[in-house]
């Protein structure tokens, strides 16, 4: 799995962090997404897919 985030689309909701805090974080100053792990281990893949789907700004893309 390879994750990309679009920081210009991100609205700072933080739903990705709620779901997968080992993969996503937010910048302290403006809440924009920070990708902690672009190729996370397999056990996190379901949560990452959920995070990509639930992102209210469609700012997370996942390729397998």
């Amino acid at each position: 799995m390879k994750i990309t985030v679009d920081q210009n689309k991100c609205c700072g909701a933080g739903t990705c962090v709620l779901l997968a805090p080992d993969v996503f974080d937010q910048r302290d100053e403006d809440g924009i997404v920070v990708l902690l792990d672009a190729e996370p281990p397999a056990e996190l893949h379901p949560l990452v897919r959920e995070a990509a789907s639930v992102c209210p700004a469609a700012a997370i893309a996942v390729t397998s």
Binding site: T15, L19, G31, V54, P56, A57
Partner: protein
Amino acid sequence: MTLIVGASAAGLACAEALRRKGYTGPLTVLGAEEHLPYDRPPLSKQVLSGAWEPARTQLRSAEALAALDATFVLGDPAVHLDVAERAVHTASDRVLQAENIVLATGLRPRTLPGQPTLRTLDDALALRAELQKCSRAVVVGDGVLGAEIAATARQLGVPVTLAGPQQAPMALQLGLPVAGLLAELHSSHGVELRLGAAVTGVEPDGVLLETGEVLPADLTVVAFGSAPATDWLRDSGLALDNGIVCDSRCRAAEGIYAAGDVARWHHETLGTPVRLENRTNATEQGIAVAANILGADQPYTPVPYFWTDQFDAKIHVHGFVGPDVSVVEGSLADRRFVARFHRDGELTGVLGWNMPKQARQHRQELVSPRCPATAATSAPGAA
């Protein structure tokens, strides 16, 4: 076969969640507009301002949509639902029958005859063209959409008046103290605020207020609310009351579910019927419906959340504003703070102004184990 009526955020999220959770049957997504699923929050901001090309609002790439293995039937509005037959009839006389039907038809904006509004991508592009040639715009409506349109128009250099019945823009969603700050923000950027008086009509030269005053305008933008898009369900026999009435599982009838702006479901934690018009709910409810179609039998009990971007302010609200407000991080003077709202001593909501991460951290205290994110991951049907 599963049929999703509505090809926007809720419908797409439901389709994706069905596949993620292992549904392999046929899947059809029916959309009234010609467009593939696109995102609406940018319409009043990045699209209206011209910062984004329309294509950037597409919610998924062509590859992602192909991987979904769903049939998209677009540009063909649903016109009738036969509950007993579980069939949807469309404007072009298609009849689509399915074991499970998800109703996700969203909202219809309230309009004034002949005046532009903003709900669809096409609306946004048309409004952008109008703004570019107008000499003064009046935005009628002091809610989220009206305030965002006024801010974007002002940033385009258009003289703008914002009119509405509240004391301050978004007073209902933000509470008065914070809405007062938003009023200051708009004023400081040159938006003329003409609030506290209802609009009673549109005249050739401007907007008529209940006071008899006419606000001069050569463009009037209507943003005073919307109604659930349920007209097509009137003869269906489904219970309609400010939305499609659903149980706690977002089920309107056997095999028929609703998600997003159009759904009014029983929120078990709050103990009351709820309908939410926000972007996150569309997605989370779509996912919850997918789980319930697949047998999860889970109540949908989200913590409501919305955000808005206006000028330099990014405002995020989790839960509901309440009568008692206290600033717990940052300061109003710095225009960077987190406020917590209480009612009868109980925390009801958290608001961040230019502090999205910190507001989200406070949200944890609002969250029961049945919050949307954790519920989604702990649901039996979850992948």
